[in-house]
């Protein structure tokens, strides 16, 4: 009887060729090049009309061992470093966080339609932000503004409520109970939010501006507000990338190979919800990123979470930076809400990718 796990000797020449799926150098390079292109466009293009060559010089001047004079005025330098740069960095952080959160939700629920707002995070954040706006507690700008704080708390409270309700209704037997609890909580909170909004029509424009998503208030304060949550959330989810592949076997089979599916689901949902709550707190509700980016990655490079999760971070970051650039360029000097752009550009692009690929959605 064999009770140990020592592998039998294998001298087959192909033995060394077997490897687990992982993000290789070409995929990593492609992701970073995409981000670089998107970030460069975000930094160089804007209504201030700063000379692009001078802007490039200004950026190069910040690199170690390089000293060049960009010839930009102090105001122009401020536009690059205090307006465009935090906006690009914040867009990248929000995009990356929403994309990896969406991918992880899809993995733990084994549901291609799952997105980071599935368990009520959007509805909770929307309610929190609406309360802050209608009570005049915040205008959505600055670190100590109550809009991001209440949005963050609203999102986390909604997910906690969903989880409690789902598990008291049998989610330990089937994740479907959790999804249904999410629908119930989101509907309830949205009803309250709509009621409050209707009672305060004078602030309806502000509320809608927040709900449709924006980065026009981006500052380094908001970057520093989001960054710790985004990093912790991303790190935790990436740690579970192989386990999330095991979860694709379903709860029974995942359990049969030694995984605790409910515990994995709890940890990953907590991590993804924390990141999502922090992202919506600083950017409002930007729909579609958590759905379109992971699925596009799957359609292009395969369904293993060891590839999908890290690439979703890179492509999610680049995607939202580009979307923000479009949002502030298409109707300049006015800005189009990001949620409108993500759906307007993202949906047709997604259809093109879907039709041109024979891969299966995971």
């Amino acid at each position: 009887m064999r009770t140990d796990s020592s592998p039998p000797r294998c001298t087959h020449p192909r033995a060394a060729s077997l490897q687990s799926e992982k993000l290789g150098a070409p995929g990593l390079l492609l992701g970073f090049v995409t981000i670089l292109v998107a970030a460069s466009a975000g930094l160089l293009i804007g209504p201030a009309g700063i000379d692009k060559t001078a802007a490039i010089m200004e950026l190069l001047d910040q690199l170690p061992f390089i000293s060049v004079d960009s010839g930009l005025s102090k105001i122009q330098k401020n536009i690059i470093w205090e307006v465009r740069m935090p906006r690009v960095v914040l867009g990248a952080l929000v995009g990356a966080t929403l994309a990896i959160s969406g991918a992880s939700y899809q993995a733990v629920f084994r549901n291609p339609l799952a997105d980071p707002y599935l368990l009520g995070a959007a509805a909770g954040a929307g309610l929190g932000a609406t309360v802050a706006i209608v009570t005049g507690s915040g205008d959505g700008i600055g670190t100590f503004d109550l809009v991001p704080l209440l949005a963050f708390l609203g999102a986390l409270t909604a997910v906690a409520l969903t989880y409690t309700l789902g598990y008291s209704s049998g989610a330990q037997r089937s994740p479907a109970a959790l999804l249904l609890a999410g629908v119930a909580v989101a509907s309830f909170l949205t009803a309250i939010q709509t009621f409050i909004q209707q009672q305060n029509v004078d602030t309806i424009r502000q509320v809608y501006s927040w709900i449709l998503g924006r980065l026009n208030t981006a500052s380094w304060d908001e970057v520093s507000l989001l960054a710790p949550y985004a990093l912790v959330s991303t790190f935790l989810i990436l740690m579970y990338r192989r386990t999330l592949d095991v979860m694709r076997l379903g709860d029974v089979e995942a359990s049969s190979v030694g995984i605790r599916p409910q515990l994995v689901r709890l940890v990953v949902i907590c991590a993804a919800s924390l990141g999502t709550a922090a992202a919506v707190a600083v950017s409002g509700l930007i729909a579609f990123v958590g759905l379109i980016v992971p699925h596009t990655v799957r359609l292009l490079v395969g369904t293993s979470n060891r590839i999908v999760l890290p690439l979703s971070i890179l492509f999610g970051a680049a995607f939202l930076v580009m979307v923000d650039l479009l949002g502030r360029s298409l109707a300049s000097p006015a800005e189009i809400p990001l949620g409108v752009i993500t759906a307007f550009c993202g949906a047709p692009f997604f259809v093109v990718v879907l039709r041109s690929s024979k891969r299966t959605l995971g």
Binding site: A15, L18, T243
Partner: protein, 257 residues
């Protein structure tokens, strides 16, 4: 030596008793088939013995109480293949079989060279080496069945539980699957417990047959003893004949006209 012992196991769902005080012992190296009519409790018994379903009573494998083991410790002792395993869309064959190594990895760890070597050998044993980069959904039913068995073997456990492993396979693939299990059992000294609907195949391949009826064990022993035509006719509500063809048992349902 008994490798797996289930003592006074009962499972109740609502008012219905699915398993009623069942006790079973499986010796190391045995190939045991659990048979019986629909609803007899075969799959429930298998999943309880595999530690995947809670039940009253006790289950021990290799003298270790299953209830006291962590899922990972349990998964190092037993592998389980359900009747209809999940086919994750887009997953490659080699990645799927590598998932069998999960209980042998550290917490949140990744596969190492030893895991790759073992899985490569398993892929070759199952004639899957050339299909390693194919996705599961592109395989035929027979190839898929080999993948499920390969993943269980990659788990390197002393005992494997198979829930109707020949379901949805044609005659040839049924025989090939069972021949393969027989070879693997000899090569890896694995104990096999499986549920089966096909009594003829169960009788020809198993060392021992457990016949279940309404949550209880109706008979337990070598196939020639358990497959009594009157007992089978009574339990299955069918007219059954048991033939011995060159030392091989064949259980045949007879039309009543």
């Amino acid at each position: 030596m008994n490798l797996c012992v289930a003592k006074e196991v009962s499972v109740r769902v609502g008012a219905k008793l699915i398993l009623d005080n069942v006790s079973v012992s499986i010796a190391a190296g045995e190939w045991v088939s659990v048979v019986g009519p629909n609803g007899a409790g075969k799959t429930t018994l298998l999943s309880v013995m595999a530690g995947l379903r809670t039940a009253s009573g006790s289950i021990s494998i290799d003298d270790r109480n299953l209830k006291e083991l962590s899922p990972r410790e349990r998964a190092r002792l037993l592998a389980y293949v359900p009747q209809h395993p999940e086919i994750p869309p887009g997953m490659k064959v080699s990645s799927y079989v590598l998932l069998g190594r999960t209980p042998h990895l550290s917490f949140l760890g990744m596969e190492g060279p030893d895991d790759f070597r073992l899985v490569q050998q398993v892929l070759e044993q199952f004639d899957l080496a050339t299909l390693g980069q194919r996705t599961l959904e592109s395989l035929s039913g027979g190839e898929l069945q080999r993948c499920h068995l390969a993943r269980a073997i990659a788990q390197a456990t002393p005992i494997i539980f198979l829930d109707e492993p020949t379901t949805a396979l044609d005659l040839g693939h049924q025989q090939q699957a069972l021949d393969r299990i027989r070879r693997l059992r000899e090569e890896h000294q694995v104990t096999v417990v499986m549920t089966m609907h096909d009594l003829t195949l169960a009788g020809q391949y198993s060392d021992r047959v457990i016949l279940m009826s309404e949550g209880e064990i109706a008979a337990d022993g070598v196939p020639s003893e358990v497959f009594d035509p009157d007992r089978l006719s009574d339990l299955y509500g069918a007219h059954v004949k048991v033939l011995n063809i060159d030392g091989h048992l064949a259980v045949i349902p007879m039309a009543e006209y």
